[in-house]
Amino acid sequence: MTSHNQEEINTNLKIFIAEIIKQDRPDSHLITVLHKAQELNGYLSREIMDLVSQEMNIPTSTIWGVATFYHYFKLNPVGKYNISVCMGTACYVKGGSEVLTAVKEELGIEIGQTTEDLLFSLHEARCIGACGLAPVAMINDKIYGELTPKKIIDIINNLKKEDESKQIP
């Protein structure tokens, strides 16, 4: 990420916060702000939390406490494709753990890690409410249903190919 880019992110976040703290009980909007920060920055870095702290007048320690409490907030950079394999009950009963194992073996990473090329991250999802399609995985905002170990590997390989073809001018 270039510093120019970071500056733009910071400016956008500051504008967002300035708007939101005009409302009643400004502190209560902390989680909304962290959502926005993660959306802009990809994850919650120490620097981003410091910035939120200054703009909202909340200690960074408090923000850290909130950010670490919720699974949704990522404290480390995530890959371009964020794979969340659902391990909710319905998916688990229908073989979600086999899908998860297949992803781990294919990418050589564990839950919460990112591949070295920053292309893929792996997470375990709690339940994304698509139990009718179990087992499912969510890659960024898209849901893939009725998975098998083979299907998810095919999907990963397709994404790899897609990414390669984009990089060749």
Partner: protein
């Protein structure tokens, strides 16, 4: 006349299907039938009639009486009578009150709240506006999971459209009543489905539960009197006002009135949402509505109520679905997740799965939940790893009962349920794991023995995949697995294209 036709369309189109024939739709009445992003569609389907009636003809007391008489109970799990909650919040004298919708649907395997918001978002807006009128609140908050992007988008649009049409905002429909609402996003913490933790989260804090009393009706969100109901509860309100309390209370059985939406999932032919009148039996919902177990497998158990619920066996299939009967049978109504488990599943492993979930979701505030569940999980892991000791099952029961009694919030109070109910109903499986080191269903990895059968053509795929070199064999000859070296990772099983590797679990001699 036209409106009548519209609402009847559901049954005429789908009546021939058993899946629909046995259902009665109140909370889901519009889902799939109207365009959720078009307010006119909702109005055409009788929408906002209830709000208009309430504002023009009813006093807040009338509304509360109607909800009380209907017998509606909280659909989020605990089943507290909704009318009584409304009444006690209305009684509080305060310049500021809140209505809150709990849309933090965290139970894995339940997705009715998502469907209601995605399919009929105005029903929530209307229900909450009526609730606000009844208790005297001016502000509403929907606490919605961040994992549901489509639901967020549609509810946001519904709120904006309702504002434009003056169903929200100042002097709604020309009355003196003003009310507005907003969405606050969750961030993936299961415990935030607990009402007091949810309110902490809306306040921008760590979502940890508070001690009760004071109850939210006295001191809730921002320490103000707060009326908090689940999505499905709110979705029932407009129908009760339009059709009357008597109509609603005529549906259902005993102290459980109306309908409940269940999310059928797991090993069942028809997966999906089914809204059924209370009083139907589990057998009817699994076999008639759900179409039974696929692939000719045998039914083993049904898990209701998510990680807080219990597993019920075949002998309990004639239990009727209502709050009291399910509790008596050893499970709970919960938010309506219904996971069907067939003979392939190991109950000890299922219990461990639920406990892993609650253990990692425990917020850590109170000791019984934080430490107790961890210890229970350690014992269960030991059992599934083949290192179970005599007395482990009793220890699980003792710990479980203690955690249930001593925990601060609903998460801890119900977390041991999956373990306790499986011990009660499937004790022999636990004993098999502990005493014989055997998993009859061949699920628990450490208790599995891998062997190569005669289908082996000697392709060496398994030998190459084995990380510890436990497989030997010459090319084109049958391979063998050295059991003492095997770490039971299962890689060979997955690599074999010829079904030549068998998984078995054999009883070990007792020491």
């Amino acid at each position: 006349m036209e409106k009548q036709k519209f609402t009847d369309r559901f049954s005429t189109v789908f009546a021939d299907q058993n899946f629909f024939k046995k259902q009665k739709r109140i909370a889901l009445k519009n889902c799939g039938l109207i365009d959720p992003e078009n307010i006119d569609d909702y109005i055409f389907a009788n929408g906002y009639t209830a709000l208009a009636t309430v504002l023009s003809e009813m006093t807040p007391e009338d509304v509360i009486k109607s909800v009380k008489d209907s017998g509606l109970r909280g659909r989020g799990g605990a089943g507290f009578p909704t009318g009584i909650k409304w009444e006690s919040t209305a009684k509080q004298v305060n310049d500021e009150k809140f209505v809150v919708c709990n849309a933090d649907e965290g139970d894995p395997g339940a997705f009715m709240d998502r469907s209601v918001i995605e399919g009929d978002p105005h029903a929530i807006v209307e229900g909450m506006a009526i609730g606000a009128y009844a208790i005297g609140a001016k502000k509403g908050v929907v606490y919605l999971r961040a994992e549901y992007p489509l639901a967020i988008k549609r509810l946001q649009k519904a709120i904006e459209d309702a504002r434009k049409a003056n169903f929200l905002g100042k002097n709604i429909l020309g009355s003196s009543f003003s009310f507005d609402m907003e969405i606050r996003l969750g961030a993936g913490a299961f415990v935030c489905g607990e009402e007091t933790a949810l309110m902490n989260s809306i306040e921008g804090k760590r979502g940890m539960p508070r001690t009760r009393p004071p109850f939210p009706s006295v001191s809730g969100l921002f320490d103000k009197p707060t009326l908090l109901n689940n999505v499905e509860t709110w979705a029932n309100i407009s129908s009760i006002i339009v059709n009357g309390a008597e109509w609603f209370s005529s549906i259902g059985v005993g102290k459980s009135k109306g309908t409940k939406v269940f999310a059928l999932a797991g090993k069942i032919t028809n997966t999906g949402l089914a809204e059924i009148p209370m009083g139907m039996t589990l057998r009817e919902i699994i076999y008639d509505v759900g179409g039974g177990i696929p692939n000719g497998k045998k039914f083993k158990a049904v898990q209701t109520g998510g990680p807080s619920g219990g597993c019920l066996t075949e002998s309990m299939l004639d239990t009727t679905i209502d709050y009291e009967s399910l509790t008596k049978a050893g499970s709970i109504m919960g938010s309506g997740g219904m996971i069907v488990i067939d003979e392939d599943a190991c109950m000890v492993n299922i219990a461990k799965f639920f406990l892993e979930f609650t253990q990692s979701e425990s917020c850590g505030k109170c000791v019984p939940c934080r430490e107790g569940i961890k210890r229970m999980l350690e014992i269960l892991t030991r059992i599934t790893d083949g290192e179970g000791q005599t007395g482990d099952i009793e220890k699980l029961e003792e710990l479980g009962n203690m955690i249930k009694k001593a925990s601060l919030c609903g998460l801890g109070q119900s977390a041991p349920n999956p373990v306790l109910s499986t011990i009660k109903n499937f004790r022999e499986e636990y004993e098999d794991h502990v005493n014989n080191k055997r998993c009859k269903c061949v699920v628990c990895e450490k208790l599995i023995t891998y062997t190569i059968n005669d289908k082996c053509i000697g392709c060496s795929a398994c030998r190459r995949s084995c990380p510890v070199g436990a497989i030997a064999g010459l090319p084109k000859e049958k391979h063998t697995i050295h059991e003492d070296l095997c770490i039971k990772c299962g890689k060979c099983f997955r690599s074999c294209k010829f079904h030549a590797i068998d998984k078995t679990s054999i009883a070990k001699e007792q020491k």
